[in-house]
């Protein structure tokens, strides 16, 4: 199928890059490694007919936890190239992503991860935190962990008419001190396109060896200002943005 060139600064490309970003975090993310796109360099669109729409993108990757004192965050990870396939809207399947990054993932976080892991396993009590909005430096790894775990949900919930980010962590609770540390997170996601706040409850596990895994995820429709009612946002692209209402397990 011919690939139509897209302007890399326009939203179809940047939305596809956001999906690739979520994909990378599900595979490589940790409390000390949280990735984001820092700009799309090249983009193309391939109409896959019944299969859906495939975006071919090249973007630069940044690692976002290296924010030590103040200003500059960027920790350049090189160039990534990804294929993001959005299935047809009526199929409601999550997008399919393939992604390779040149020279990336040289971030060696094993020392920090091991250190945090041991501290949590050997602590006398279980850790918890709330309203982690002003990022307290000591809580930062848990903000990042929440962000990485959120990517599992955001990857699944993405389509061509969404741009999802984790906006806020209401609270998190460490559930166990077992080899697979388990945490419960109450998070708020933000969809840039509809501007809505989506409330999710996650149960996740983490260990340096096992990485981050989301075991359970539940959307909470009760929050009024987080309401995900049956809204029709006239985007000019998709006729309807229909919101799901059921509980989901990952």
């Amino acid at each position: 199928m011919p690939v139509e060139e897209l302007d890399p600064s326009h939203y179809p490309a940047t939305r596809a890059a956001k999906v690739a970003e979520h994909f990378i975090n599900t595979r490589y993310g940790s409390p000390f490694a949280w990735f984001g796109s820092s700009g799309v360099k090249k983009a193309g669109l391939e109409d896959m007919g019944v299969l859906g729409t495939k975006y071919h993108i090249e973007f630069t990757l940044k690692e976002m936890t290296r924010n030590v004192k103040s200003s500059v965050i960027l920790y350049d990870m090189g160039l990534c190239s990804a294929e993001v396939l959005f299935h047809r809207a009526d199929e409601r399947k999550p997008p399919q992503v393939q992604c390779t990054c040149s020279g990336a993932f040289q971030v060696n976080t094993s020392a920090e991860e091991e250190d945090l892991y041991q501290r949590l396993r050997n602590a006398t009590s279980l850790l918890s935190g709330n309203s982690v909005g002003h990022i307290d430096p000591e809580m930062a790894p848990f903000w990042h962990l929440g962000g990485v775990a959120s990517s599992f949900i955001m990857l699944r919930e993405s389509n061509e008419s969404t741009l999802l980010n984790m906006a806020h962590i209401d609270n998190f609770t460490q559930m166990t001190k077992d080899a697979q540390l388990m945490f419960q997170y109450d998070i708020l996601l933000h969809d840039m396109v509809s501007q809505e706040i989506l409330k999710w409850k996650l149960l996740l596990s983490w260990s340096p060896d096992g990485g981050v895994k989301v075991l359970e995820a539940e959307w909470d429709p009760k929050c009024r200002s987080c309401e995900r009612a049956h809204l029709t946002v006239t985007t000019g692209i998709a006729a309807e943005q229909e919101m799901k209402g059921d509980n989901n397990n990952v």
Binding site: Y11, G36, Q195, T235
Partner: protein, 401 residues
């Protein structure tokens, strides 16, 4: 009094005190400034912090807090921003005036600072509004920084002085006053976006998206007619008092206002008209060029990438924005800046200063371009005309004498 003032002095130097004293919990900012490892020390510190804040509030009431000590690296609640605005006037009376130009649904005053060197003739002007969307806290923070910076530099930087000489700046630090106040209420309200006006026609959610409420292809795209939606455009265009306040001020001055900025977050984008995908601004190319230059200026400060494009192309199609309306009524240069970061409205306070610094560079680059286009190319045109006339005269004199 001496004891109070001394302790005030010492405390203001060594502790940051929570701004929102209505919040009984120890605020995260108090926690930030304290590096003790044990919970016990932290709790004691928090109590001390809370108590000393009480003393400080008392002292501020008596003494008045000098804006010289105003901290531009933290987020301020509404009351402090209002006080600060008054202080900007009292400290710079020859260049700053406070203008109350409207009111909100909950009957709060909407004010702007008019900044510029006095002139006998009507001046061209620049409009900047911050805080249309309540949760975008970095936006009001930037307006405050911008004001501080031009006032700090105009006496020593001849370029800034020239800007203030030739232009008036109308800066609204918080436009959606009701919404902004609401986001400070508690941790369930922090992510509010809209105004606080009630729903109509039996729809029982609160608030209208101010940036969909203007008369610019109102309601056509990028909205939801469900009043619970965060992009609800209102039951009609300009249903919101806040939007009407902007229109009532800007419209009569539309021939003088040459540049219109509306500051938002997040996303790191510089957007220009239009939000409606089927409308193209006649000066699209020029707007794109200006925006690219601004993005370059931003990147030079701290290396951050800001994406450039028309609103509809770079972000999403959306009608009824203040920027679109400004362009439609003829203001030639209108921009929406979406500041840091790329994922959250709750930008950490340690990023306020770098964000403001880079945004200032971007905005300054735009203003300089617009200023020079108006005040220099006119001069260039005039002198070119003069030379052409002289040459033609000489030529004709030489050949026909």
């Amino acid at each position: 009094t001496a004891l109070i003032l001394t302790s005030y002095y010492i405390l203001s130097k060594h502790f940051y005190l929570p701004a929102n004293y209505k919040n009984v919990q120890c605020t995260p900012v108090c926690k930030q400034r304290q590096h003790a490892k044990s919970n016990k020390t932290r709790t004691s510190f928090c109590h001390a912090c809370f108590v000393t804040h009480g003393i400080l509030i008392f002292c501020r009431l008596i003494k008045g807090h000098e804006a010289r000590n105003y901290d531009y690296t933290i987020y301020h609640p509404l009351a402090e921003i209002s006080t600060w605005m008054g202080q900007m006037v009292s400290e710079n009376p020859d260049v700053v005036t406070l203008v109350d130009y409207g009111s909100t649904y909950e009957n709060r005053t909407i004010s702007l600072l008019k900044i510029g060197l006095k002139s006998d003739v009507t001046k061209k002007a620049v409009w900047m509004d911050c805080g249309i969307h309540a949760r975008e806290w970095i936006s009001p923070a930037f307006c405050q920084y911008f004001v501080k910076e031009i006032l700090r530099t105009y006496k020593t930087d001849s370029k800034v002085e020239e800007l203030l000489k030739n232009l008036d700046f109308y800066i609204t630090p918080v436009l959606n006053v009701d919404g902004y106040l609401y986001t400070w209420k508690d941790n369930t309200t922090r992510l509010w976006r809209k105004t606080r006006s009630p729903g109509t026609d039996g729809c029982d959610c609160i608030g209208t998206d101010l940036n969909r409420n203007f008369e610019a292809n109102w309601g056509m795209v990028g909205v939801s007619q469900n009043c619970c939606s965060n992009v609800y455009p209102g039951f009609k265009a300009l249903s919101e008092a806040e939007a009407r306040s902007v229109v009532d001020f800007v419209e009569p001055r539309k021939n003088d206002i040459v540049c219109f900025f509306t500051i938002h977050s997040y996303g790191q984008l510089i957007l220009f008209p239009y939000g409606h995908p089927n409308v193209t601004a006649p000066n699209y190319n020029e707007l794109a060029e200006i925006s690219q230059a601004a993005a370059k200026a931003i990147k030079a400060v701290h290396g951050m990438t800001y994406t450039v494009g028309s609103f509809a192309e770079a972000l999403y199609p959306a009608a009824g924005s203040s920027m679109d309306w400004a362009r439609l009524i003829g203001i030639p240069f209108a921009f929406t800046f979406e500041l840091r970061d790329e994922g959250s409205f709750e930008l950490p306070e340690n990023q306020i200063l770098p964000t403001c610094e880079e945004t200032y560079a971007g905005v300054h680059s735009v203003i300089t371009y617009v200023h020079n286009k108006i005040f220099y190319s006119a001069a260039i045109t005039a002198s070119a005309t003069l030379w052409t006339t002289l040459l033609a005269t000489w030529f004709s004199c030489t050949f026909f004498s």
